[in-house]
Point group: none
Chain length 217, copies 2
């Protein structure tokens, strides 16, 4: 908790031209897209080998370490799970709160992830705590493990195409071979209908930081 006093980071860089100097990794839109695609394609917990590969892929869009990828997936899993739980809880609970209806203000708040047992959960709207990104359209790929390269590759392909950074090239099509990692889970879809797999405007869905960060694509 309080032991980490900032890691030395890697001063050896200079690769990235204009980085606003951030203390922590801030995934670029493209990176997030890739990560989510992978996650949604079923690989929720990539083994180390895969992690490395993914990192290499992501690196084309910006500096990133294996640890970042690892953490990303961890957080992602955790959150998805939580959100699901929360959602279930709220749905099933449908607790009728007879609050005095005093004031009744602010609608922003979200809900909770506590499955809880007694009492209410979740107010009228929104989702749980750790909800991560909300169903990105492009990421809506069903958890079918079979899809493999068809759709996701397309997504990434498009993305790559845009950038067309032909440094190595081979990585792209070999994106996630889904080498028997552990995909299995399907995160109950967002409820809404399954959106078309292709991603038209993912960026809009992914709320990236405004202004400050200009993606170098």
């Amino acid at each position: 908790m309080e032991d980490q006093g900032q890691d030395p980071n890697s001063p050896t860089n200079g690769s990235e031209r204009n980085e606003p100097v951030r203390s922590r990794w801030t995934p670029k839109p493209e990176q997030i897209l890739i990560l989510e695609s992978i996650f949604n394609s079923g690989m929720v917990n990539p083994p180390k080998d895969e992690t490395v590969r993914i990192r290499k892929l992501l690196e084309k869009f910006g500096s990133v370490g294996d640890a970042n990828v690892f953490y990303w997936f961890q957080n992602r899993r955790s959150r998805s799970r939580r959100r699901q739980r929360q959602m279930q809880a709220s749905l099933q609970q449908r607790n009728q709160q007879e609050q005095g209806a005093s004031g009744g203000n602010s609608g922003g708040g979200g809900a909770i992830h506590y499955e809880s047992s007694s009492s209410t959960t979740t107010p009228p709207h929104v989702l749980g705590y750790e909800a991560d990104s909300v169903a990105p359209s492009f990421a809506s790929c069903p958890s079918s493990y079979l899809m493999g390269s068809s759709s996701s590759s397309a997504c990434v392909g498009m993305l790559m195409g845009d950038h067309h950074d032909h440094h190595h090239g081979h990585v792209v099509d070999n994106l996630f071979p889904v080498s028997g990692a552990q995909m299995g889970f399907s995160e109950i879809d967002q409820g809404s209908s399954v959106t078309p797999i292709l991603c038209p405007e993912d960026t809009s869905n992914l709320h990236f930081q405004s202004g400050k960060n200009a993606c170098p694509i």
Copy 2:
């Protein structure tokens, strides 16, 4: 934790009585009072169960979700801590820290710790903004981080009494039983010898909108 999936739109029914649709939760004075009382009473990090209970309580004064409560506590804690830290730092400038610099790395082992999670650029990053504002008076007498006391309940009692919303009844008096939660005890307690503890005018301290304060109670 960090969850929360704030959804930008309100799907359910868009009409709350008198709500200009706020994008984010804005706690009402009474809610803040309650929250701070709880916080000051020592419960700086309420477990889920407690959070839910608190939310229920707060809901009487306005819509709020568990996540909001959760975030509130998180931010509060974080802030208190940081403020203290900077205060201390400022006070004792001649603090010298030594880096252990353990040369050999542990190498493989139990923890997955990837290599350093370096990301982009090196962060000199010294001072953090976000200077927390001053401490509210009644909040200044907590048993958690700065001191110990036991009168916060009085505050809440008063508040509750005023409202007398005995819909469920049990919630109110059972406010914070401090059921073995984690009341962090202390950190530096220096100074504040006496501390009258009693909170005289909490409301005044909380800078609410003076003018248009439509109190639902």
